[in-house]
C-alpha cells in the first residue's frame, strides 16, 4: 500500500499574507522585538521549506542578490542604483583574456550572486566560505564562524549574526559586505537552509554599522534583519505568483525553445535577450536567433507576465521579478 506524502495544501496563487500583528512597527521593547522576529523567521522558513516548487528559489535568491548589491553599494558610499548595477553586470562582454571586467558596480552584484550559491550543507563549509572571502582575514573567518555557530545555539541566531558582524567590522570597518555575508551565513545555518540568502544588508544604514561597531547598535540591526525577513516573505509570495502566471501562459508560446527560455526566466531576475537567449539559451544547447529572442521577450511583455526593466529601446533587459 502506498501513502501519499502530506503536503501543506497551498494555493500557489494565494499564499498566506503575513499577519498584520507580525508587521507591527510599534515594537519598542527588546522582548517584543524578539517575539516578532521569531514569528517573521518562522513564517519565512515555513514558506522556503515547502517541498513543492511554488516559490522559485533561484529567482528569489538572484532577486535578493540584486537588492543586496544596491544596499551594499550604499553602505560602501558608491550609491549605484539598481539600473547602474544591472547594466554593469549584464552588458559586460568577456575581455580578451576571458575575464569580465565588470567594474565596481557589476562586481558587487557578482559578489552577491556568488554568495547565494555557496553551499552550507557539506562538512567543509566553513573552509569554503573562508576561501571565498578576501584573503586579508585569513584564518579569522573560520574562528568567527565557529564561535557564531556555537553562540547561535545558546543565544539565538540574531545575537550570533550581529556578533560576527562586529568581529568583521572591528578587524576592518570597510568590510561591510563581508560582515553582511557572514551574518547571512550564520542565519542560514541556524535555519538549516542549503544556501545563504542575502538578508542582512537589505535594510542596513551606515550609521547602523557604525553604532554596531561601537557596541550600541545591536537592536537596530536586529530590527533591520527582521524587516528583511518580512520583505523576503512578501517577495517570495509575489515571485510565486509571477512564476505561476508565466507557467500558465507557457502553452501559448509557440517559439522554438520557448520551454528553455521560460525556465531561464524562472531563474533569472533579468534576461538580456541578445546574450542570454541568443545564440543559445543560457545553460542549454537550444539555439535561438537574436530576432526570435527579442520577439519572445516582447511577447512575454504583451501577455503581461514580464516587464522590460530599462525603459530603453535598445540593450533591453526583461524580467518577471520586478
Amino acid at each position: 500500500m502506498t501513502y501519499q506524502l502530506t503536503v501543506i495544501p497551498i494555493d500557489r496563487s494565494s499564499l498566506p499574507k503575513l499577519p498584520a500583528w507580525v508587521t507591527s512597527t510599534r515594537a519598542e521593547t527588546p522582548e517584543y522585538m524578539a517575539f516578532l522576529s521569531g514569528a517573521s523567521f518562522a513564517i519565512l522558513d515555513t514558506l522556503l521549506c515547502q517541498s513543492n516548487d511554488a516559490v522559485p528559489m533561484t529567482l528569489l535568491a538572484n532577486t535578493l542578490a540584486l537588492r543586496a548589491a544596491v544596499a551594499t553599494s550604499k553602505l560602501e558610499g558608491r550609491m549605484a542604483t539598481e539600473a547602474d548595477i544591472r547594466d554593469a553586470y549584464y552588458l559586460t562582454p568577456p575581455g580578451d583574456d576571458g575575464i569580465r571586467h565588470r567594474g565596481p558596480d557589476g562586481e558587487v552584484l557578482d559578489y552577491w550572486r556568488n554568495t547565494v550559491h555557496l553551499r552550507l550543507g557539506h562538512a567543509d563549509w566553513m573552509r569554503a566560505i573562508a576561501d571565498t572571502i578576501h584573503e586579508r582575514f585569513e584564518d579569522a573567518v573560520e574562528t568567527w564562524l565557529k564561535t557564531a555557530v556555537d553562540r547561535s545555539r545558546s543565544e539565538g541566531p540574531l545575537a550570533a549574526a550581529t556578533r560576527i558582524m562586529r568581529d568583521v567590522l572591528e578587524a576592518d570597518d570597510r568590510a561591510e559586505r563581508v560582515a553582511c555575508l557572514l551574518s547571512d551565513v550564520v542565519l542560514a545555518r541556524f535555519f538549516g537552509w542549503e544556501h545563504p540568502l542575502p538578508l542582512t544588508a537589505l535594510h542596513l544604514s551606515k550609521s547602523n554599522l557604525r553604532d554596531l561597531k561601537e557596541g550600541t547598535g545591536e537592536p537596530a540591526v536586529h530590527r533591520a534583519i527582521m524587516q528583511s525577513a518580512q520583505k523576503t516573505y512578501r517577495l517570495a509570495t509575489t515571485l510565486a505568483a509571477r512564476a505561476e502566471a508565466l507557467r500558465a501562459i507557457t502553452p501559448k508560446l509557440r517559439t522554438r525553445g520557448s520551454e528553455d527560455a521560460v525556465a531561464l526566466f524562472l531563474r533569472e531576475d533579468a534576461v538580456a535577450p541578445s546574450s542570454m537567449l541568443a545564440p543559445t539559451i543560457r545553460g542549454t544547447t537550444t539555439s535561438m536567433t537574436a530576432r526570435a529572442a527579442r520577439r519572445f521577450c516582447d511577447r512575454l511583455v504583451e501577455l503581461g507576465v514580464a516587464r522590460e526593466l530599462t525603459g530603453r529601446s535598445t540593450f533591453r533587459l526583461y524580467g518577471i521579478a520586478s
Binding site: 575581455g95 567594474g103 565596481p104 557589476g106 586579508r136 551606515k206 530599462t310 530603453r312 535598445t314 540593450f315
Partner: protein, 209 residues
C-alpha cells in the same frame, strides 16, 4: 670550402655566443637536465628584466613545445621559501618581492616611488577612469574637453591598469573602461574606496547624516 661555409662551421663550434645559433632544444642533454636548464633560462630572463616579460619572449629561450607555464610553476615551487616570487602581470611575468617584506625593504633602503613612466596625460586619464568608471571615450572627452587618443588608452590597457568594462547602452555600444585589480596593486590600494576623493565624499555624507 667557401668562406661562408667556413664561417658557418666556425659559428657552430662556438656555442651560445651568437643569437642566431642559440640552442633552444638542448638535445644533447638528458631530459632532466634539459628541463633544469630551461627553468634556469626563464628565471634568468625574468631576473634581468625590470618589466614583465611576455610568454612569446620566454618561449624563445626554451624548446619548441615546452610549456612556459609549467616551467614557471616548477620555478615557483623552488622559490617557495624565498622572499620573492614570480607574479603574472599584464599578460607576462616578473619577479617581485613578497608583499610581506615591503616594510623591511622600505626601512632598509629608501626605495622611492617606482617609476611607471606615466605621462601627465596618461595619469590624468587613469584618474578619470578610476573615479568615473565605468566611463567610455565620450565620457572622457566630456571631462577633458577633447577626444582622448586611442593609443593612450591602449597603452594603459597594455599595462594592465584598465580593462574594457560594460558596454554603454547607446548607439554603437562603445565599451567603457574600468580599472583592474592590477591597478589597485600598482597604487597599493585595497579597494577603490581608498582613492582619496571617495573618502572625502564619505566624510561629507556622514556629516550630512
Amino acid at each position: 670550402m667557401t668562406a661562408a661555409a667556413t664561417k658557418r662551421l666556425h659559428d657552430d663550434q662556438c656555442d651560445g655566443e651568437d643569437n642566431v645559433l642559440f640552442d633552444r632544444e638542448l638535445e644533447d642533454l638528458p631530459q632532466e637536465l634539459r628541463w633544469r636548464e630551461w627553468m634556469g633560462r626563464i628565471e634568468a630572463v625574468l631576473f634581468a628584466s625590470a618589466s614583465p616579460v611576455g610568454r612569446d619572449d620566454l618561449a624563445r629561450v626554451v624548446g619548441q613545445g615546452a610549456s612556459v607555464e609549467t616551467l614557471i610553476d616548477d620555478i615557483q615551487a623552488d622559490l617557495r621559501a624565498k622572499p620573492y616570487e614570480i607574479v603574472p602581470v599584464a599578460g607576462g611575468w616578473m619577479f617581485r618581492t613578497r608583499s610581506h617584506y615591503a616594510t623591511a625593504i622600505r626601512t632598509a633602503a629608501d626605495v622611492g616611488e617606482q617609476s611607471h613612466n606615466f605621462s601627465e596625460e596618461e595619469m590624468g586619464v587613469l584618474c578619470a577612469v578610476a573615479y568615473h568608471q565605468p566611463i567610455d571615450r565620450a565620457g572622457l572627452a566630456d571631462i577633458f574637453g577633447k577626444e582622448i587618443n586611442r593609443d593612450l588608452l591602449s597603452r594603459l590597457r597594455y599595462k594592465g591598469l584598465i580593462g574594457n568594462g560594460p558596454k554603454s547602452p547607446r548607439p554603437g555600444a562603445p565599451h567603457t573602461f574600468v580599472t583592474t585589480t592590477e591597478f589597485l596593486a600598482t597604487f597599493d590600494l585595497r579597494s577603490l574606496r581608498d582613492l582619496p576623493d571617495l573618502q572625502i565624499n564619505e566624510q561629507l555624507e556622514t556629516g550630512v547624516l
